[in-house]
Symmetry: C2
Subunit: 147 residues, 2 copies
C-alpha cells in the first residue's frame, strides 16, 4: 500500500502508528504497561500468541527502545522484558484506543478497565487546557501547523 | 498475518485500530476532525493523496458510520463528508498518537499543535481520576479485566 514516507507530510501520529499499529503489538504492550507482565512465558499464557510471533514482536520492541531485555540471573530470576520511558508514554495511546473501542465497538461491554493503582478509582483521559488544566470539550479542539 | 478475531481475547483497542490503524486513514480523519475539512478536493489538496485511495478511504468511513455523505445541492454547495459523533470521539486517539510521536519520533519538532478554539490555549490529554478529576501519574494506571 503505502511506503514509509509521505511526500510533503510530516505526521507524528502516523509515526506512532508504525509502532503500535498492529494488534499483537498493541496487546503485548498493554500487558507490559498496564499489567506488569515481563516474562516471555507470561505474555504467551496471557495472550495465547504463537511463540515465533511473540519472539519477533519483543525483538522489534527492544530494537525500537520500547523494552529493555534483562537476561536471566543464574537461574534464580528468569529473563525479563522491562518497559522503557518511551513505552510508558504510550499508555495514553492505548487508553484512548480502548476508550473509543469500549464506546463504539464493544457490544458485550468493555473487556478491561483502567484504574489508579493507589486509590482503585477509574482512570480516564480528558482533554485539558495545558496551562489552566480546565477540561476542554472535544468539539472545541482544533489543530494548527506548528510552524 | 492475523485474522480479525483473537481466540479468547476481546480487545477494544484492537478494534479501534482496525479503523484508524492505517496512515492515510489517520491523516484524513485528522483533517476532518481538527481542521474542518469536508470536501473531496480539500482533502486531496491538503494531503496530496491519490484520488482512488482517497475515494476508497472516504467510502469505508461512510460505511463504518464515521462520516456522513451529504450530496451537492443544486450546484451551489459542493458535496461534503461530515464527521459523526463516532468519529468525533476519535479525537483523543489522534491526540494521544500525536503527543507520543511529537515526543519520541519527531526530531524536527512537532508538525501540528492542538488548541482550544475558543481561547487559543494549547490543549492536551491528561489521565485523571474519573470521579475526582485529579491528575493520575501514568505510572499509577493499571488495567483490570472488567468482568
Amino acid at each position: 500500500m503505502l511506503g514509509n514516507t509521505y511526500p510533503n507530510i510530516v505526521c507524528s501520529a502516523a509515526r506512532a502508528l508504525e509502532i503500535v499499529g498492529e494488534r499483537w503489538s498493541l496487546l503485548i504492550l498493554r500487558d507490559s504497561l498496564f499489567r506488569g507482565v515481563t516474562q516471555f512465558s507470561e505474555f504467551q499464557r496471557s495472550l495465547g500468541i504463537a511463540t515465533n510471533i511473540l519472539a519477533r514482536r519483543l525483538e522489534v520492541f527492544v530494537e525500537n527502545g520500547l523494552l529493555d531485555y534483562v537476561p536471566a540471573r543464574s537461574g534464580r530470576e528468569p529473563s525479563a522484558y522491562v518497559p522503557t520511558p518511551k513505552a510508558m508514554d504510550l499508555k495514553p495511546v492505548i487508553m484512548a484506543l480502548t476508550q473509543w473501542g469500549d464506546r463504539w465497538m464493544a457490544p458485550d461491554g468493555p473487556p478491561v478497565s483502567f484504574h489508579n493503582r493507589s486509590t482503585g478509582a477509574y482512570a480516564r483521559l480528558r482533554p485539558v487546557d495545558e496551562d489552566a488544566g480546565d477540561a476542554v470539550p472535544l468539539a472545541d479542539i482544533v489543530a494548527r501547523p506548528a510552524r
